[in-house]
């Protein structure tokens, strides 16, 4: 019996192991190796030791990119709390909850390409946002939203938060659907208002779900911003909205500095791995789980 498990255990796990090793671990190792070389992607790479990293930490573009990643990470508290409140309102059957539940997930369904191109039009000087501002008497606020860093970063941030809130709301809803109904009823009997019930009774029991949302939103700010930047601002104006991923892409494909791009990639992986580890450790501490 046990021998049979041993054999088939390996056999069943093998395809998954082979795929991640071949198409994640191997290319990642290649990135790490080439981070120590000067390589244009065509000619043979040339070993340069730590030179790329030395250049990197002096590079103002890298600093800008990393700073923008951090700015995008500032939205994490919003991404953790707002969807929780929205999910709670749906769970509590606010009038129209079915409709809200169906529509909230739509931004997560529509592709980043589509969202990005629509956002570009919306934020333009002659776009709907400025038209709206003009029609409600706030014409003074009209501006080319993607025309300067001061407004384009908040604009992209808004799009990212908007594109992800439905996904997070859905995860909270799933978590709430598994809660013991007695919890909520008991609090209700005491006459607590719905939001009080949410923060004092429900939220503490949703710890695992909050953890999931917290980790995914933080990792998103560092590891999954590329599509938004590529489609909405293309890094501009100038280099103002570069994020680390976008810098890697440009260095490799526009400037042929593939070795250098690999060095940036190594730094980025170190950052995302650290976030994942730290957050999981902080959040599993004291839950007894």
């Amino acid at each position: 019996m046990a021998d049979r498990d041993r054999l088939w255990g390996v056999v069943y796990a093998l395809p998954a192991l082979a795929l991640v090793l071949a198409f994640i671990a191997y290319p990642l190792a290649s990135v790490v190796y080439h981070a120590f070389t000067a390589w244009d992607g065509i000619n043979p790479p040339e070993w340069v030791g730590l030179e790329n990293f030395a250049t990197l930490f002096e590079d103002p573009l890298f600093r800008t990119s990393l700073r923008n990643n951090l700015l995008f990470a500032l939205s994490v508290p919003i991404q953790v709390t707002v969807p929780m409140v929205l999910a709670w309102l749906i769970y509590e059957r606010v009038p129209g909850w079915r409709f809200f539940r169906s529509t909230f997930f739509l931004p997560a369904v529509v592709s980043t390409v589509v969202v990005g191109i629509v956002a570009q039009v919306v934020f333009r000087l002659d776009g709907p946002l400025n038209a709206l501002l003009g029609s409600v008497g706030l014409g003074a606020l009209q501006t080319e939203w993607l025309g300067s860093a001061g407004t384009s970063i908040p604009a992209v941030l808004l799009v990212v938060v908007w594109a992800n809130f439905g996904y997070n709301t859905l995860i909270y809803l799933a978590g709430m659907s598994a809660l013991d109904p007695a919890l909520r009823e008991a609090a209700r009997m005491d006459g607590a208002r719905p939001l009080r019930v949410l923060f004092s009774v429900v939220a503490p029991n949703l710890r695992r779900v909050m953890e999931l949302v917290l980790v995914t939103s933080t990792v998103t700010a560092f590891a999954f911003m590329f599509a938004y930047i590529y489609v909405i601002t293309n890094g501009g104006p100038g280099f103002d909205t570069y994020v680390t991923e976008f810098m890697i892409y440009k260095q490799a494909f526009a400037f042929g500095r593939v070795g250098y791009a690999c060095a940036v990639g190594v730094v980025l992986v170190v950052i995302t791995a650290a976030i994942g580890l730290v957050q999981i450790r902080v959040l599993t501490r004291g839950t007894g789980a």
């Binding site: 019996m1 994640i24 290649s30 390409v113 039009v121 908007w162 809803l173 991923e245």
Partner: protein, 279 residues
């Protein structure tokens, strides 16, 4: 008295709360409305107003987009890639999850970690080496290139999801079947899989949406007649610089299939995710 409580509970919802929710819903619907209304107007009309209803209804833009983006070809490519990836992902993740949750073998814990640890690797940094690798393997510009890459990139999450789900099923189920002489394979196919439908639905939906919307690997690896619809539409942006309504029409055409799939599955979505996050 119970009825009175219900009534009071109803009244407690202040209208600003509902209005706020309605506003968020409106923002979620806005892109679809925006695409549809602009796909159906003329470029002259678009220059004047982008948000109101079209003054002259016209399907010309839809036709220009349909031809300009080679929609039938690219749509077929997208379907091949999506179906291939989702099928491979489901099979590989399910088998691995079965091994990691219900079969006992020596290095099981370490092997599970070896699949999971890649979860925070930004896919973009692998773009260059994977491109080189696909050229070397002779898979460049074939559907297999992106199917293999997409499956691998999503495996850590998919395997985590399925393993968490299988672990939530009591071991007695498998033990009982084993007592009755079921083989290792029969336990998976006959006992566990029929119970795993909600978790499988979650996998299918999330992977479908992810693959349909992915564009950077597809852009790089499928440059010819193998292009996916999302990439085809993205490239309309350059070509239709002076034809914005055709661009909107193209975006609409690329969006409707995913919205359709979502509307079909959405009733099951919450339950599926609840099952998927291992509760």
């Amino acid at each position: 008295m119970g009825a009175a409580v219900v009534v009071r509970r109803r009244e407690r919802w202040k209208w600003p709360v509902v209005a706020g929710m309605a506003l968020i819903s409106a923002s979620a619907l806005f892109p679809l409305y925006f695409l549809a209304s602009n796909a159906l107007r003329t470029n002259a009309d678009y220059a004047g107003a982008k948000v109101g209803l079209p003054t002259i209804l016209s399907a010309d833009a839809l036709q220009r987009a349909w031809e300009g983006a080679s929609v039938p070809t690219y749509l077929r490519n997208s379907l091949v890639v999506v179906v291939g990836t989702v099928a491979l992902s489901v099979v590989v993740a399910t088998c691995a999850a079965y091994s990691f949750s219900k079969l006992r073998w020596t290095l099981r814990g370490k092997a599970y970690l070896l699949v999971l640890v890649w979860i925070a690797v930004p896919p973009l940094i692998l773009l260059v080496p994977l491109y080189v690798q696909m050229v070397d393997l002779g898979l460049f510009d074939t559907y297999w290139s992106v199917i293999l890459i997409y499956t691998a990139l999503n495996l850590p999450f998919n395997t985590y999801l399925m393993t968490a789900f299988f672990r939530s099923l009591p071991d007695e189920l498998a033990e009982a079947a084993r007592m009755e002489g079921a083989s290792v394979h029969q336990i998976l196919w006959r006992v566990l899989l029929p119970l795993a439908r909600p978790a499988l639905a979650t996998l299918v939906i999330f992977n479908f949406l992810w693959v349909w919307n992915e564009f950077i690997f597809a852009l790089l690896l499928l440059p010819s007649e193998t292009k996916t619809l999302t990439v085809g539409v993205l490239q309309l942006q350059g070509r239709f610089n002076l034809d914005p309504t055709a661009l909107m029409a193209g975006l609409l055409i690329a969006t409707l299939p995913v919205v359709g799939v979502y509307l079909i599955f959405q009733r099951h979505l919450v339950r599926a995710v609840a099952a998927g996050i291992g509760r």
